[in-house]
């Protein structure tokens, strides 16, 4: 039975080999074993690895011709001397270990004559480096096997491998030379006694545009070290590359650099002006959504207009209110099909109010828009279908300002009736009433943690209210005119307020006192914005300038003409009346305003 099986296996194998056109199989099949035990496999594998091509060279004990050592070494040396290029220097570092080990090998084999001539010819090459010189001097005395074995240092050299670091380019350069001719002795020494560490070439010196910075040249250089140096020999130890203290120093250096940049001057690089033309003096307010895709503007003729700031046009979603049809899943496919065609429009006009629109506010995910108007109502516009879906009633007088809370849970309004009110999106009546101002409330803002609301009023005060309880928790006095605009810093520490008295006041919320009072504007300040890292404040005023202040350190220039020292820059664009200023990222400032009229009225 077993024999039949073996025959079957043999037959199958022969057929396969025939199909694959391994022709002369019949003879070799007799001796082929069809099964192997694990030990046999392991043994055969070790035999194979030991007797592979690399080891053929190492197994050869002595060269037939002792002159070969000298010839090959001198050839290599002259090649490296004559060649040019940046790699030659690296490759030349391999000469010393080659010399050393060739000498030792010749001493061990007892080739005294060849050794003498070899030594006398080449020992002068290595006199520069003190360590190499010391070893060369040692070699002078080592001429026989006895000398080599009695000297412990030389024994150590023989027992361990010499490590050479080369970049891969230098290494391949060397190999190419060695393969071009018969350099078997050198190859043997390379495999037996040298360990070549090949490292990839590092590119760490990126040039700045034109301005060459010379300190960046840290291309890794080759170095030779003794591997596993005997500790008691002490004196021979060369420097250990990349030890632990070096890394810590580099880390400290890096962190110091980072710290200095973080505390350094701000990095505003781009100011983007959106100028409205042909507004006929009807434009009251303009806002950009947080993802900077939409621009909303409120007009005196009760219209709210939306612009798309990106390439994609505004397209209303499908109208879903048809109750005479049942919508199936296959209907959805047809609607999704035409998503990419250009049937949208750049501007959408939203009509619904019956009085001038004084403020628009986007929700944080830009899925909806709130607008408040003189007709004492607040309307919610759904931005998928561009229709007015909710009407919020509660005030009896014009509503001046509306603000949405950070997570779009609530919104608050400020009105002529001297109150501010808190609303939720789900109810059309207000949830809380904040009464306490002596005159109408001009602006309202939520704190980043949604627990506090700040209001500024014509009675020249700013009040801070607790959202839930409705009680006033802080009263900030000091302004000399109506407070028209407020802004909270994103880190929640400061409140900025400004208005007709042309001063920007920063209040510290923890202590309740005035933190900074910035001068510089020459007319009413109409809009404020903090940058995301709470270090910059931008203020826009009716004197047609936008000023940026650094509130952390006084990085600005020396105070000129009465401006505060925190002023970093002052910008005027193509607008004649600035409505709104917003920080989009720490290096982008968006300014909206009416364009300059060509004719003066």
């Amino acid at each position: 039975m077993k024999r039949v099986r073996t025959e079957q296996i043999q037959y199958a194998v022969t057929q396969y080999l025939k199909r694959r056109q391994y022709i002369d199989t019949d003879g070799s099949m007799k001796g082929a074993k069809l099964s192997q035990t694990a030990e046999e496999m392991a043994a055969s594998l070790t035999v194979q690895t030991e007797s592979s091509c690399a080891n053929v060279v190492s197994a050869a004990p002595c060269q037939a011709d002792p002159q070969q050592y000298e010839n090959q070494f001198s050839r290599l040396r002259s090649f490296l001397q004559e060649a040019e290029g940046p790699l030659v220097k690296e490759a030349s570092s391999v000469l010393f270990p080659l010399f050393l080990y060739l000498h030792l090998h010749m001493a061990r084999c007892g080739l005294k004559g060849a050794l003498d001539s070899f030594y006398s010819r080449f020992h002068s090459l290595f006199q520069q480096d003190p360590e190499q010189k010391a070893i060369v001097d040692l070699l002078r005395g080592a001429l026989t096997l006895q000398d080599v074995t009695t000297n412990p240092k030389l024994c150590a050299l023989l027992d361990h491998k010499y490590v050479v670091h080369l970049t891969d380019q230098a290494y391949s350069y060397l190999l190419r030379y060695l393969q071009s001719e018969d350099n078997s002795a050198i190859c043997w020494v390379l495999t037996a006694h040298l360990q070549v560490e090949v490292t990839a070439a590092q590119r760490t010196d990126y040039q700045l545009y034109g301005a060459g910075v010379g300190t960046g040249n840290t291309s890794s250089s080759s170095s030779s070290t003794w591997a596993s140096v005997d500790g008691s020999e002490g004196a021979e130890r060369l420097e250990v590359p990349a030890g632990l203290p070096q890394n810590e120093a580099a880390l400290e250096n890096l962190q110091d650099c980072i710290k200095r940049v973080r505390e350094g001057p701000p990095s505003l690089t781009t100011v983007c002006f959106y100028a409205f033309q042909h507004t006929e003096q009807l434009l009251n307010t303009a806002e950009v959504s947080a993802d900077s895709r939409l621009l909303a503007a409120g007009f005196d003729n009760s219209a709210v207009k939306l612009w798309s700031l990106r390439a994609r046009k505004l397209k209303a979603g499908p109208h879903k209110a048809d109750v005479s049809k049942i919508r199936l899943a296959c209907d959805v496919l047809e609607e999704e099909a035409d998503d990419e065609d250009a049937s949208g429009s750049e501007i959408k006009t939203l009509r619904g109010h019956s009085g001038p629109v004084y403020r628009t506010a986007f929700l944080t995910d830009a899925s909806g828009l709130l607008s408040c108007s003189e007709d004492s109502t607040v309307r919610y516009w759904d931005l998928k279908s561009f229709t007015n879906t909710v009407l919020y009633r509660g005030h009896a007088y014009p509503v001046w300002d509306v603000d949405v809370s950070p997570c779009s849970l609530y919104f608050s309004t400020a009105s002529h009736d001297r109150t501010a009110r808190l609303w939720s999106f789900a109810r059309t009546y207000p949830l809380r009433l904040y009464a306490g101002h002596l005159s109408d409330v001009d602006c309202v803002k939520f704190h980043p943690n949604s627990n506090y609301i700040a209001t500024g009023s014509t009675d020249k005060t700013v009040r801070l209210w607790s959202t839930r309880q409705g009680a006033s928790v802080r009263l900030f006095t000091g302004h000399r005119g109506p407070v028209l605009t407020l802004a909270f810093s994103p880190n929640g520490k400061y409140l900025a307020s400004a208005g007709e008295d042309q001063r920007l006041k920063l209040w510290d919320l923890a202590s309740g006192g005035l933190f900074k009072d910035l001068r510089g504007h020459t007319d009413t300040i109409s809009s404020l914005s903090f940058s995301q890292d709470s270090s910059l404040v931008a203020s826009a005023s009716m004197d047609n300038t936008v000023r940026v202040w650094d509130i952390r350190n006084a990085h600005g220039s020396a105070p000129t003409d009465g401006c505060s020292s925190e002023l970093i820059g002052q910008y005027t664009g193509s607008t004649s009346n600035i409505l709104n200023v917003q920080f989009m990222a720490c290096n982008l400032l968006l300014v909206t305003g009416t364009a300059m009229e060509k004719q003066e009225q």
Partner: protein, 397 residues
């Protein structure tokens, strides 16, 4: 401000009040006239204050009659009518006394109606964008200049740039992590953005070194994830570097031991991340990306690793991309791929391994295509059932 507070308010004299009363046919005593005068003054001041609020919130400086009318409306008073004309009313003086009267002009309505010069309506409101760049000192550069790359950077920033690049591309992994973390969270590095983008565009010269490519991709990821940084037009350059990693047959891929497949996967994920967060900063980016991916797929001369990169890139961009680019191309491509996979010769072994990778990538993006097929079949079923129903109704009313 204090000046205004000290100024006395305008007062209406009693004589005017009495005159007004006489013209209305009412007799008033002195006291009454005095009281009325005070009240009138107060109401005037209140109306003016309210109208100034309207003016302030409309961001104007000139008080208009509309503002005043609104204030009156909210006080439940009759508004003043007859104002708003373009030219001022002409007052003519009477010869005797200090009386002025408004001239009553006659207007020929027929002429007005048949006049041929129709006044132009107002143009529609439009928005113009103007972007200004700031130079190193924070001043606006003159209009129309392109931002110069060589700005005067401060020494701190220069040192930071060198240290960070060295740390990321160097050998210490801990330093690299610290550097990448800082790139992701530092708000002050906007001025260095062109320099970092230049470093990243050096992918083209390190295509033999997978480790360096990986690090450069990490750098792209950090920059893209920095919430304080506005990338602007540098998105294009970053996307082209990432596309290079996805599509190019890298020099490192010659050695089959180098794992350039994970690099391509990582680059594809990064591409989708950049596209979904910053994709609409640059117009037409989506189409450009799709076009280049399509070009690679339809080119049989390109090695299979490029095709793999294209398929993985499409998969990362979403099922719409797969549907638009891969699906129509699939039948033709499949034939070629089958030929590669069926060829069992030894010389083809490496290419065949690559072919298997592409096959796998197509299978992964295929479920999305399968969804499409299922949807289409449902559509077909629905349509046929509807037509059946209609025909039944026609025959058996």
């Amino acid at each position: 401000m204090t000046e205004r507070e000290e100024r006395r308010f305008a007062e209406v004299p009693r004589e005017s009040v009495k005159l007004m009363a006489e013209s209305a046919g009412v007799e008033l005593s002195e006291e009454l006239a005095g009281l009325l005068a005070e009240d009138v003054c107060y109401r005037l001041r209140e109306a003016t204050q309210n109208s100034s609020q309207f003016m302030r919130h409309a961001k104007r400086r000139k008080l208009s009659v509309e503002d005043f009318n609104r204030a009156l409306r909210w006080s439940n008073t009759e508004t003043v009518c007859g104002y708003g004309a373009q030219d001022a009313l002409p007052f003519r003086p009477l010869k005797e006394g200090e009386l002025f009267y408004v001239e009553d002009r006659e207007i020929n309505l027929v002429e007005l109606a048949l006049a041929t010069n129709i006044p132009k309506g107002c143009a529609e409101t439009m928005v113009r964008v103007h972007v200004s760049y700031l130079d190193g000192k924070g001043n606006l550069e003159p209009q129309g200049t392109v931002p110069t790359a060589v700005q005067s950077l401060s020494e701190d920033l220069l040192k930071y740039y060198q240290q960070i690049t060295r740390a990321i591309l160097g050998e210490d992994p801990h330093l690299m992590k610290v550097a990448l973390l800082d790139l992701q969270s530092n708000s002050k590095i906007a001025a260095l953005l062109p320099y970092f983008v230049y470093v990243i565009s050096g992918v083209k010269s390190v295509s033999h070194d997978l480790d360096q490519l990986n690090r450069l991709l990490h750098m792209v990821k950090s920059l893209v994830q920095n919430p304080y940084l506005y990338l602007g037009s540098y998105v294009r350059s970053l996307v082209s570097s990432v596309m290079y990693c996805i599509l190019e047959p890298l020099a490192a891929s010659i050695n089959p031991l180098n794992d350039h497949w994970t690099l391509r996967d990582y680059a594809a994920l990064l591409l989708s991340h950049i596209f979904w967060t910053h994709g609409d900063l640059v117009s037409g980016l989506y189409h450009q990306i799709l076009l280049s991916l399509q070009k690679v797929l339809s080119d049989p001369v390109r090695p299979l690793c490029s095709h793999y990169g294209a398929v993985v890139g499409l998969h990362a961009l979403g099922w719409k991309a797969v549907e638009r680019v891969l699906y129509p191309h699939l039948p033709a491509y499949w034939a070629n791929l089958q030929a590669v996979l069926d060829d069992y010769s030894v010389s083809n072994a490496q290419v065949k391994a690559d072919g298997h990778k592409v096959y796998g990538a197509i299978l992964i993006s295929c479920p999305l295509v399968l969804v499409l097929i299922i949807r289409l079949t449902f559509q077909v079923i629905f349509i046929t059932s509807r037509t059946l129903e209609q025909s039944i109704q026609r025959h058996f009313p």
